[in-house]
């Protein structure tokens, strides 16, 4: 082994050792093979907690009920009871702290997501009462004539 022929090999081994030492310091200590084995579970374990700690923004109707009971009650008694408040008003996040007020979107675009008539026989869309946005009182906000929370006609 004293032969000079092995010199490049020593250099190589040195580089490998260096890489392994670097690995020891750079790679997070919880990096390893997880529940799903090496093929599907090779990762940094604490990243799962990173994702769990992500901010929740949509809080659903039950949250609004506390403070906007009138709206909640009227909405729940209507044909629009299946629609989440936050679909029309945006995510609550930390409302009323931040943002203090939620968006009020009076655009026609909001309503025609469901109510633009699409004659689709095998889809529930075809069953929703539809209008032709170009013909049904064009240019006017829907909420002028319909209560978005309780649109029932009778």
């Amino acid at each position: 082994m004293k032969s000079h022929v092995w010199r490049p090999l020593w250099v190589l081994l040195g580089v490998i050792a260096l890489a392994l030492v670097a690995r020891h310091f750079v790679v997070p200590s919880d990096f390893g093979v997880g529940e799903r084995g090496f093929m599907y579970g090779f990762h940094r374990k604490s990243n799962e907690d990173d994702w769990k700690a992500f901010k929740v923004k949509y809080l659903t109707k039950e949250y609004c009920k506390e403070c906007h009971e009138d709206k909640y009650e009227s909405n729940m008694a209507s044909k629009h009871n299946l629609i989440e408040c936050e679909n029309c008003h945006g995510p609550a996040i930390d409302h009323p702290d931040n943002p203090a007020k939620l968006v009020i979107d009076k655009s026609r675009a909001l309503c025609i997501r469901c109510h633009a008539k699409l004659p689709y026989p095998t889809s529930h869309r075809g069953e929703i009462k539809g209008i032709n946005p170009d013909e049904h009182n064009p240019g006017e906000e829907c909420s002028m004539c319909h209560d978005p929370h309780k649109p029932d006609m009778e």
Binding site: D50, F54, Y58, E86, C114, Y120, P121, S123
Partner: protein, 259 residues
């Protein structure tokens, strides 16, 4: 003098060698260690699954809107974690498909891809919501060169934003087009089944946003879970089963035309 020098040098050499040797085994073994893996595996009793009912979907796009806001994927960009496709099958057998802006503004026009459609010609038409299938054998995870994307014990595929190098191999490997580069973080991005919500006992943002119950999430390992019951008792379909990815997003009313 020379002797002293030699010994000092020897000492340093030994110290360096010692340090290197000490560092070696620790890190060297972590590259591949099945034993460690075995130890970590405890029978998980949660496997998240998803159910989409294409009959119920009306194409309002609230799911896409909610998903983008909830998960901080910029609203105006075309890329999205979930999207809704429209299929209009005509009586002559032709199929028109579109997904304007991923359906985030809903479907408000009868035109499909700028083509007028005569309602009398429509044989069937429906909407298909799409999202990551959280495959049992996720090809996107298999190809990640650095272990930045992985599957959790409960079956959700996540991306480590601090470790992803952004090579795009996972995007290429996904047969469903579920992945993309996040325009701000510049790393691979995908549906997480709202991991921060489901692990707190909530539903995903898209499930909560859907007024018609077209989307449902549940624990497939719980036989009493409503989703599991439907998956067990109804005739369900999955997307692109030929790839062997074993999707865990199940569809009711899937059609041959669905891509």
């Amino acid at each position: 003098m020379t002797n002293m020098k030699l010994t000092r040098r020897d000492f340093i050499m030994t110290a360096v060698k010692g340090a290197a040797v000490a560092a070696l085994p620790l890190s060297a073994f972590k590259i591949l260690s099945p034993s460690e893996a075995k130890a970590a595996i405890k029978e998980a009793n949660v496997r998240w699954g998803f159910l989409v009912d294409t009959h119920k979907c009306v194409g309002c796009g609230f799911c896409v809107k909610a998903c983008k806001n909830e998960n901080e994927v910029p609203y105006d960009v075309p890329v999205t974690r979930t999207w809704v496709e429209r299929y209009v099958v005509l009586k002559d057998g032709k199929t028109l498909i579109d997904t304007p802006h991923g359906g985030r503004e809903g479907f408000t026009e009868q035109k499909v891809q700028e083509k007028d459609v005569d309602p009398k010609n429509i044989a069937k038409a429906f909407f298909v919501p799409k999202l990551c299938n959280q495959c049992e054998n996720p090809p996107c995870v298999q190809v990640c060169p650095v272990g930045a994307t992985y599957q959790t014990g409960n079956g959700v595929v996540l991306v480590d934003r601090t470790w992803c190098i952004g090579c795009g191999y996972c995007i290429m490997a996904c047969p469903y087009g579920a992945r993309f580069f996040h325009p701000i973080h510049k790393v691979a991005e995908k549906c997480t089944f709202c991991y921060h919500r489901i692990t707190k006992g909530m539903k995903t943002a898209c499930v909560d946003a859907c007024p018609f119950g077209a989307r449902k999430i549940g624990n497939l390992k719980d036989p009493n879970d409503p989703v599991t019951k439907i998956v067990m008792t109804e005739r369900i379909g999955i997307l692109k089963d030929a790839f062997g990815t074993k999707p865990q997003v199940f569809y009711l009313g899937l059609d041959d035309n669905v891509r």
